[in-house]
């Protein structure tokens, strides 16, 4: 008996030893760190994760929707004053971007292991630093001072509890990242379509540096010149490369509109980096969303278009007033009717061969709540209207922006002469057959949003607003110019004029709930006449939980 048990245990013990090996199991279906980052291909695949975060330009971008360019049916809680300090940072850019920054840092700590030449290593480090610059800049835009983390932390890192780094210092690091990217990313002829190249990095540099330069100036942080200079350097590097041009087919009444409904932008000279959509590969839902967007352009934007004589509405004899949309659109900058639906515009080529032609804006509906229906990026091709089947390319970096950055930076530096304008603003005006901006003949618009701004800068900003309307820059432009109070202008939340005789042309039931102000402009928000601006809105508050977990983040952003 005892012997028997002994044998059992002996047998079991032998099995046990044999079976320790049985327990050596590892994932068969996953990559893990010790074997990764071995060659250039690994580096490239790792970098791929960041591309989806490249900001794409479209009119439904929240930075555009919640700016003075558009009046969405649901206003932003920030401007409505209903935004409260969030308890948890979950879902905010604070969490999202720090997660991506960790991925960047994780790479930068390890990429040198790869078996590749220095240029290749630097190229992918350049890609990652490009993205890290983008992520940090977005954080600074939202929160001002933020912690600078440059390695991948663990749960025990003391840096978790570090203080916020001042805005300017963070941006200096951002500039260093972006400069590294500019220097190490390949030239155009050396890069697969879609991958980052030198000019994309320069375009980002131009954008970020203009933002930072003007932010420093208008928010009185000081030391803005290096950034304004860097804007010029980056912009001119792109302009002088000869790779890019303003796209035109010689049709000023349609070229601007057509630029944004193209199936393939990869060979378009205006596209420094396009967001490519290909049917059955990757598609967007933009056309469908735009067709029922729940937003519309504001009166404020509509007013800012010049007349065809190059004069603002307040000064031009050509302006016919805004008693009807037809009158308002007459003799205006051709971009007016290429951004806003006007009579005769073909909304959709129906599948049965007929065309849905625009006559009157569908006020009282989600299609055109303000009367100024957005048609930028809205293709008449019915195939694009199918849900998530939109294969029209969009812009990530558009050459026009670079030209506008250059003009503005030059003007801020006091170096903007007629040559600069001719190389920048006037190239954009040529496409739409608008008269050139001529410094000598500029007149200050009595209706200007920026009454005290020099007329040249004012007009450059107007040109930027019109050309880049719907591209997603407007909110951040107003923020960097410290122009928040402009949101108190009632026109930023008004729609088109709806005189009783115009209203009478609509079915009563459709427009019965449409309200207008004393001057018959459509009021989108019936309980307020204008937004109330508070300077605290320049920055978002940090979530309470983050402040609780790390006392060094204090103080909270001003007035939150």
């Amino acid at each position: 008996m005892k012997r028997f048990l002994f044998y059992i245990f002996l047998g079991a013990a032998i099995l046990q030893c044999a079976c320790n090996k049985q327990l050596n199991l590892y994932p068969n279906d996953e990559l893990s760190e010790p074997t990764y980052f071995k060659d250039a291909n690994d580096l490239a695949l790792y970098c791929n994760q960041f591309y989806q975060y490249l900001p794409v330009q479209d009119p439904l971008n929240s930075d555009e929707m919640y700016s003075d360019n558009e009046v969405p049916t649901n206003r932003s809680s920030l401007l409505a004053g209903t935004y409260v300090v969030p308890v948890s940072a979950g879902g905010t850019i604070w969490v999202g971007n720090y997660a991506d920054i960790r991925s960047c840092n994780y790479f930068l700590q390890r990429y040198r292991r790869a078996n590749a030449d220095t240029a290749t290593l630097n190229r992918y480090a350049g890609e990652v630093r490009f993205f890290r610059a983008l992520f940090y800049w977005q954080l600074v835009e939202n929160y001002g001072d933020v912690p600078w983390i440059s390695i991948d932390l663990t749960d025990t890192s003391s840096q978790l509890y570090g203080p916020r780094m001042p805005h300017m210092q963070v941006m200096d690091s951002v500039l260093s990242d972006i400069a590294f990217a500019c220097n190490n990313l390949p030239d155009l002829n050396n890069v697969q379509a879609g991958r980052l190249h030198k000019y994309a990095a320069l375009a980002l540099m131009s954008r970020i540096c203009l933002w930072e330069g003007t932010y420093r100036r208008y928010h009185s942080l000081g030391n803005e010149l290096p950034y304004l200079q860097a804007t010029v350097t980056a912009s001119e590097a792109i302009m002088n490369s000869g790779n890019y041009a303003i796209w035109s087919t010689g049709n000023p009444q349609s070229d601007y509109y057509n630029l944004f409904i193209q199936q393939d932008l990869t060979n378009n000279k205006e596209a420094i980096l396009p967001m490519v959509y290909i049917l059955n590969v990757l598609t967007s839902d933009l056309t469908r969303q735009l067709s029922d967007g729940g937003t519309g352009w504001s009166k404020d934007l509509a007013r800012s278009f010049l007349c065809t004589d190059g004069l603002p509405t307040a000064l031009s004899p050509l302006y016919k007033g805004d008693d009807s949309l037809d009158a308002e659109a007459a003799d205006r900058d051709p971009r007016f009717s290429q951004l806003i639906a006007t009579r005769g515009f073909v909304l959709k080529n129906n599948t049965d061969g007929t065309k849905a032609v625009f006559t009157m804006p569908q006020i009282g509906t989600a299609q055109a709540p303000t009367g100024y229906q957005i048609v930028k990026c809205l293709s008449p091709d019915p195939a694009e209207w199918n849900a998530s089947q939109d294969d029209l390319d969009q812009f990530i970096f558009r050459y026009a922006e670079v030209l506008l950055n250059e003009a503005e930076a030059k003007a801020e530096l006091g170096e903007c002469d007629q040559t600069v304008l001719d190389n920048t603003v006037n190239k954009l005006r040529d496409r739409v057959a608008m008269p050139h901006m001529v410094i000598a003949t500029l007149q200050k618009d009595p209706n200007s949003q920026f009454p005290s701004l020099p007329v040249l800068l004012d007009e450059i900003r107007r040109e930027r607003r019109v050309e880049l309307a719907g591209d997603g820059f407007r909110w951040e432009d107003l923020m960097r110019w410290a122009a928040g109070p402009h949101f108190q202008d009632p026109e930023t939340i008004l729609g088109m004029k709806l005189l009783p005789q115009v209203r009478a042309e609509y079915p009563a039931s459709q427009v019965s709930s449409v309200q207008v102000d004393a001057n018959y402009y459509i009021r989108q928000y019936t309980n307020i006449t204008n937004f109330t601006w508070s300077d605290k809105m320049y920055l978002y508050p940090i979530a309470t939980q983050e402040l609780t977990l790390n006392h060094n983040l204090a103080p909270q952003n001003p007035d939150w």
Binding site: L15, Q16, N28, E30, L45, T73, T365, Y525, E546
Partner: protein, 1171 residues
């Protein structure tokens, strides 16, 4: 008596013959041994062996029985014999040479007796010795005089026995002249011993098993007498499950065992139930409303016949018994997977020496929904929508982006008043191609219109000779979903076969083969993820099913027409085969020792096809508007699963009693398991012909293929020692040394020791005084410390299978490189370098008692379970970390609870018997250590020291603001940034700071929040009532929870949780200037700070539900026999017939929540037939 009268006749040999033939047909295994001839010739080649051993061998070769007295045979000398094909008699003569014994042969029985001193007139081997044996016949009945079939009768101390036939008759040859003691046993009755006292005709009445303390209970790697148990162990026998139609085992077990908490989750056909033992287990486990583990991490280990199997797939009709090992001491033999209890399911096994039986049970069931929210009509809906929109306008709150117009209201009212003459929609003035809908549809009513059928059939065949026995069964179950338009169908087919055969006297071989075949057919869920119930929060009442005057489904825009989706999208078809093969051997090499070895192979393979069909949406005059956005493009997904599992169990039992006082049982063994999962998931769009949705027929330029592939393994050494002194003092020590592939080398093995002790007070001398009233009294205590394995091997994913390895995730880029998307590799998460096993320490004390001649019996246990070093994740670290914080062994949890089981069984008169069984249990759980949240944040996902599990934080409701002035004076801006208005909720300022706020959401600064309730289900109970009068029986089963809170947060309760959410009739009772004492506040999209967790709306989720009511009629044996049947019972049963609860009317108290596939009320008719 003549020789002829000894020839065995009647039912038994015929049955054996049929049995044998059937067995030969069915078997491929080890029949050689038993099929070897029954000649009267023997071949023996033995050296110095005992007579007993030789008898055994001869029995096997000839089929002759041997009668002998154990005491007498011990006086025999060892024999050396070598014969070949020799006559039995000749061989016997050789054996009995020089022995103090002699023999006679009666029929096919060899009767061994002491040699008489006086010289026998006859030489040994003389044909018949009428004095030597007698034949005893008799009848066995129950107390009501009904014959009992299948009663096993053994002559005590021998292997000789027989079984009663269908009339309860038996016939047995016993040695004459002495008192033979016969043992009568059958499941469900008290085993009885009867001394023949020279009688040859016995009438035996068996008592039904009033006391189950003498029952044999399946425990890990062996069995035990219930009276000797020292741990917290509960059992359920087939009898308790048999009387009603069970869809799955979980349904049958629910409420039967106190603190075995079973959540049915939802009523969709085929939905798996979740199991939990004794409440909250581990905070990394997740848990649902019923306390059941959500992801299975904290669930009990569920073993079916010794291997880990999904209880949701097995046929409930095959179940013989279910044992729940609740405390650590009982579960320790299962080591790391038994930390939160073990459920042992034993299926029906074959019995030797039993007649061939054919049984059929079947039932037909109609089901309908339990509780569902009541739909609002379109007129009220539009009015309320507009009202909420106006409130938003006035107060600067959320307004409608797609508001209703005056015309909508008018048209809807017209339709509502006169549906015949008014349209359900009219062209939208803004876009004449599409409709504005003004119909009136009760979506839920259309989805769940009425009854749906279920049926199940089980056939089993069983029988056994003295060597080989078998059970074969097949069960078929078919269920249609109560969501009628989905045409859901779920089918389960469970064939199984078990065979045992005694290959030699010391070797028993057994084989079990089971297939669980599942097939289901459901609508494919659209990409936006409709709930299983298709009760969407955005199906507007004003939307008709079809466009006005047409057959086009309505529904363009942002709302869901579930019926259109159900009718037009493709199907999701699943077929799964779960094949289990177990081969085992039981060796008895020497007396008192048995060795068990079994090896199981399991293959689970499934193939699932999900077809997605794009379908158009039409507007006015059938104009094409768009494709429904969530089912495009036409695509087929094929999911192939192939999982393999092997398990090896090797264990030995030694059982002996020394000196009459010391009973010892030792179990020791080895277990190893290995599982390999593989799934391949392929998807192709652009189907060439969507009506033939085979995946190969596609034109997709980039079909996708993904999958999973992983393995886990574990092995362990296990032991258990039982010691009983004088049948009074009981001690058990058990444990296991366990290894798991889920830990890095070096930290793989872990020890789980435990011990328990019991004292049978009722066996003590001093207790005799009370023996009249108290028959059984035992106190028990146990202690055990078990490690907790970190994953649930039945639903694994990498992070739980290899928790110490952080993989780099891969995905497809949402960006085009060149002309294609590319693979994107991400950064891995963080893994703590030094984490280790969780430790679960359970202390348990309890007692068992039986009073009043066992009419009243019960069990009571209290326990404390400490879950230590819990691996916790998601603890708050500053977000600049950039990833989820790693798991660490940083938390402790203490669960305290008790459970009581009380049972009363009695008879009144001869014909009426009844019983009542109450199970009652309770637990609470508290966090005792949690280093990671020193500030004691109580927001979702956080834990803190002192936190009571399930606690609900909220504000104290202080009525409504009744005027703008009141609203203006209040400061609730931390809750809602907009303007407050009359009808908004006023909260109580608990901290007196003149404003209502969340504070910092910490325990020390909760603002104006406090703990307002607790969602832990308390005092869960089950009450089983049973009565039988003559042929009628009735069973009633109530189940419920006596205390529990729930804070609702969905649109059926609140209404407009957003503009897109549909309110229900309940929200009509909302605040309006002329209705200021309404139940709900003023209407606002999103609630505007009103829909917070708060006292007024906290729900009392306690309930009592009539789970089962069944009425049965057993047709009298006489009638049945005339029809050549053996038994027949018919019954009708109702399930979930009604419930008592104060819970919000839109919820079912068992699932609690909105949009859950409803549970069903069922009415069944069934038949149990024995052939």
């Amino acid at each position: 008596m003549t020789r002829a009268s000894f020839r065995e006749g009647g039912a038994l040999p015929k049955a054996l013959l049929i049995m044998k033939l059937t067995a030969i047909l069915l078997l491929t295994l080890c029949l050689g041994a038993s099929a070897r001839g029954r000649a009267q010739e023997v071949t023996l080649n033995e050296n110095n062996v005992s007579l007993k051993r030789l008898f055994e061998e001869m029995r096997k070769q000839t089929g002759y029985f041997f009668f002998y007295d154990l005491k007498e045979i011990r006086t025999s000398k060892p024999v050396t014999i070598s014969v070949r094909n020799t006559g039995l008699r000749e061989a016997l003569d050789l054996c009995f040479k020089d022995q103090p014994l002699t023999y006679t042969i009666v029929d096919r029985t060899v009767v061994v007796r002491k040699k008489e001193e006086k010289p026998s007139p006859a030489s040994p081997g003389v044909e018949v010795s009428p004095v030597a044996v007698v034949v005893v016949t008799g009848t066995v009945t129950n107390a009501r005089g009904e014959p009992l079939e299948g009663v096993t009768i053994y002559i005590q101390g021998t292997k000789v026995g027989t079984v009663t036939d269908s009339k309860g008759h038996f016939k047995l040859t016993v040695p004459a002249g002495e008192k033979a003691v016969l043992e009568f046993s059958i499941v469900g009755y008290v085993t009885q011993t009867v001394s023949t006292d020279g009688r040859t005709d016995l009438q035996v009445v068996l008592k039904e098993g009033a006391s189950d303390l003498s029952e044999i209970v399946v425990v890990g790697y062996g069995t035990q007498r219930k009276e000797n148990l020292t741990g917290a162990v509960a059992t359920v026998n087939a009898k308790e499950l048999d009387s009603r139609p069970l869809v799955n085992l979980a349904q049958g077990l629910q409420g039967l065992v106190p603190n075995l908490n079973i959540a049915l989750n939802d009523g969709k056909p085929g939905t798996a139930a979740s199991y939990n033992v004794r409440g909250i287990t581990s905070i990394n486990a997740g848990y649902n409303q019923q306390g059941g583990a959500l992801n299975g991490l904290g669930g009990p280990l569920i073993m079916v016949d010794g291997v880990q199997m999904d209880p949701n797939l097995i046929n409930p009709a095959d179940v013989e018994s279910v044992t729940v090992l609740k405390d650590a001491a009982s579960a320790a033999i299962y080591g790391s997977r038994g930390a939160f209890g073990v459920i042992l399911i034993t299926t029906k096994n074959a019995r030797k020496n039993s007649p061939l039986r054919l049984n059929y049970t079947g039932s037909y069931t109609e089901t309908r929904t339990t509780r569902l929210p009541k739909y609002l009509n379109s007129v009220d809906y539009i009015a309320m929508h507009r009202e909420a929109d106006r409130d938003g306008q006035i107060s600067g709150g959320t307004t409608a982006s797609l508001p209703f117009t005056v015309e909508d209201s008018i048209m809807a009212a017209n339709y509502f008043a006169d549906p015949k003459d008014n349209p359900t929609g009219y062209p939208d003035p803004a876009n004449p191609a599409i409709y504005r809908y003004v119909g009136n549809t009760d979506w839920i009513k259309l989805e769940y219109p009425g009854w749906a059928p279920q049926q199940q059939h089980n056939i089993s065949v069983s029988g056994g000779s003295d060597k080989t026995s078998f059970v074969g069964s097949i069960g078929v179950f078919d269920e249609k979903g109560i969501l009628k338009p989905a045409h859901s169908d779920y089918q389960r087919i469970n064939p199984s076969l078990r065979i045992n055969t005694e290959a030699t006297s010391w070797l028993n071989l057994n084989l079990k083969a089971t297939v669980n075949h599942i097939s289901s057919n459901n609508p494919t869920a659209p990409q936006n993820g409709n709930s299983k119930s298709y009760i969407q929060g955005d199906s507007r009442p004003n939307m008709p099913v079809f466009n006005p005057g047409g057959t086009d489904y309505s529904g363009e825009g942002s709302w869901t027409n579930s019926l259109a989706v159900l009718a037009q999208n493709g199907r999701d078809k699943l077929m799964a085969n779960d094949i289990w093969l177990t081969a085992g051997a039981v060796l008895t090499p020497v007396e008192h020792v048995t060795i068990n070895a079994d090896y199981t192979f399991n293959n689970y393979s499934a193939s699932e096809q999900q077809v997605q069909k794009e379908f158009p949406e039409y507007g006015v005059d059938h104009v094409f508007i768009d494709y429904y956005p969530w089912t495009i493009p036409n695509a087929t997904t094929e999911i192939g699963t192939n999982n393999n599992y092997t398990a090896l169990n090797l264990y030995a039992n030694y059982e002996n009693t020394f000196g009459k006082l010391h009973y010892v049982k030792l179990t020791a063994g080895y277990n190893q398991e290995y599982r390999h999962y593989k799934t391949i998931n392929t998807n192709a769009g652009l189907l060439i012909d969507p009506s033939t949705p085979f995946i190969g027929l596609n034109a997709d330029p980039k079909p996708s293929a993904t999958g999973n592939d992983y393995e886990w393994a574990m092995n362990g050494l296990l032991y258990r020692l039982n010691y009983a002194f004088n049948n009074k003092y009981l001690l058990e020590v058990d444990g296991r040394y366990d290894g798991s592939s889920s830990f890095p080398s070096g930290r793989r093995y872990v020890w789980s020791p435990s011990a328990s002790a019991g004292w049978k007070i009722s066996e003590e001398k001093f207790f005799e005084h009370f023996a009249g009233a108290v028959q059984e009294l035992k106190v028990r205590a146990s202690y055990g410390s078990l490690p907790n394995q970190l994953f649930n091997p039945t639903t694994p994913y990498d992070a739980t299978i290899y928790p110490y390895i952080a993989p780099l995730p891969t995905s497809t880029s949402n960006y085009v490189f060149g002309t294609q998307q590319s693979i994107a590799v991400g950064s891995p998460g963080l893994v703590s370098p030094n984490f280790t096993w969780e430790q679960v320490v359970t202390k348990d004390a309890g007692f068992d008692f039986g009073l009043l001649q066992q009419r009243l019996s019960g069990t009571f246990d209290v326990y404390i379970r400490d879950t230590k070093n819990m691996l916790v994740g998601g603890q708050p670290l500053p977000s600049v970390l950039g990833t989820t914080p790693p798991l660490e062994n940083a938390a402790n949890l203490r669960t305290r609870g008790w459970e009581l089981s009380l049972s009363w069984k009695d008879k009144i008169g001869k014909d009426f018997s009844y019983s009542a069984t109450l199970g009652l249990s309770d637990y609470t759980a508290t966090i005792t250590k949690y280093d990671l949240n020193p500030t004691k944040l109580f927001t979702s996902g956080n834990y803190y020291v002192g936190q009571h599990f399930g606690e609900i934080w909220g504000f104290v409701t202080d009525g409504y603001f009744q005027s703008a002035a009141e609203a203006g004076a209040a400061n609730q801006s931390a809750l809602y940034g907009g303007t407050l208005m009359p009808g908004d909720i006023r909260y109580k300022d608990l901290n007196g700071d003149k404003q209502i706020s969340y504070g910092s959401n910490t325990v020390s600064d909760p603002g104006d929040q406090k703990v307002i309730g607790n969602s832990t289900p308390r005092y869960a109970f089950g009450l089983n009532l049973y009565a039988k009068y003559k042929s009628f029986d009735v069973a009633i089963f109530f189940q419920g929870v006596a205390k529990r809170d729930y804070m609702p947060n969905d649109n059926s309760f609140w209404g407009f949780t957003s503009e897109w959410s549909i309110p229900f009739v309940y929200q009509k009772d909302h605040w309006e200037p002329n209705h200021t004492n309404a139940y709900y506040p003023v209407l606002r999209f999103g609630g505007g700070g009103n829909y917070l967790s708060q006292t007024k709306y906290l729900q009392n989720a306690a309930y009592t539900r009539l789970k089962n009511l069944s009425l049965g009629y057993t047709v009298h044996a006489r009638v049945v026999n005339r029809a050549h049947l053996k038994s027949l019972r018919v019954y009708a049963a109702g399930q979930n017939l009604f419930e008592m609860t104060k819970l919000f009317k839109g919820y079912d108290p068992e699932t609690v929540g909105y949009g859950i596939y409803p549970l069903s009320r069922a009415v069944s008719f069934g038949l149990q037939l024995g052939l």
